[in-house]
Symmetry: C2
Subunit: 191 residues, 2 copies
Amino acid sequence: MPTATENISVTLPEWCERFAAPGEVFATAEQRMALAVRLARENVRLGTGGPFGAAVFEQASGRLVALGVNSVERLRNSALHGEMVALMFAQARCGSHTLRAPELPAHELYTSCEPCAMCLGALLWSGVRRVVCAASREDAIRIGFDEGPVFRASHAYLEARGVEILQGLLAEEAREVLRDYARHGGLVYNG
Amino acid sequence: MPTATENISVTLPEWCERFAAPGEVFATAEQRMALAVRLARENVRLGTGGPFGAAVFEQASGRLVALGVNSVERLRNSALHGEMVALMFAQARCGSHTLRAPELPAHELYTSCEPCAMCLGALLWSGVRRVVCAASREDAIRIGFDEGPVFRASHAYLEARGVEILQGLLAEEAREVLRDYARHGGLVYNG
């Protein structure tokens, strides 16, 4: 039995390093979302995880801060959805448990699919100011994923605390990744 | 700027190693919860994090599988609530992204405080069969923590998917830890 001080290591797949570099500028909302969707597609194509990708940017400059891809099966850790991985790396790079630290610029997260209940809660604690989604909760449910207890009031709760949520950007491209994953019999893990 | 393949390391504070060993048997529900509450108290006393502790057990045998303490500030990672840390270590030890893998016995999580929105979602994906809570959402809110979008329907959602939720075991002991943390001016981080 391992000791209590063993460590759990959260990593990105190696191909991510060649894919986009932190610091690279993505000027428009479409460019930022296109990156999140391409991450989802590559994660499926290369067999490194579920059909979900995310990225954190500095809102004003468009500088890429961190990438995330679904890593649940690869790292045997059900918490490692794409959004969670991107937020963890963003906070590690900023050296802060909140992206709203006074010395930091505003941050936003782009995700290829609307966040599940866990990720929505995580976004609230992360300090991002805006979340932009491509595919919807219904799109994920359609291929068999459970999205957890998210209600209209859940989004309103975040909005009331200064986290803007935008939906449907490049939705068709993101849905295509979900459909492709389902068509090839990708693992659908739920509770 | 670090590369994409850097790693994020999730660790427990060193004192946890001397505190309880995985494999140790906690026969009753009260003993299991007492461990979670002691973890919360030690985390405050030793200055290693927020006033929240959790532990995962094999349900039938009472064998301890993993510990967790709030590690948000220590590891600069807003996802690392006590429940999240305990679940991550439990899955690492079981070598599975779900504690409901066919070869595994039923697992349950004890937490010194009712899970926030993120942790509730995470519990659904984790594969635990039962969640037992000490202090309530209201107790955490009373000392200034935001618990996120959790509604009565959120608990019902988990119950409907076979995750039993029990509340109020050793609640007074857990509340005392929360009050103590507030009294000594511990960091209350929110979104």
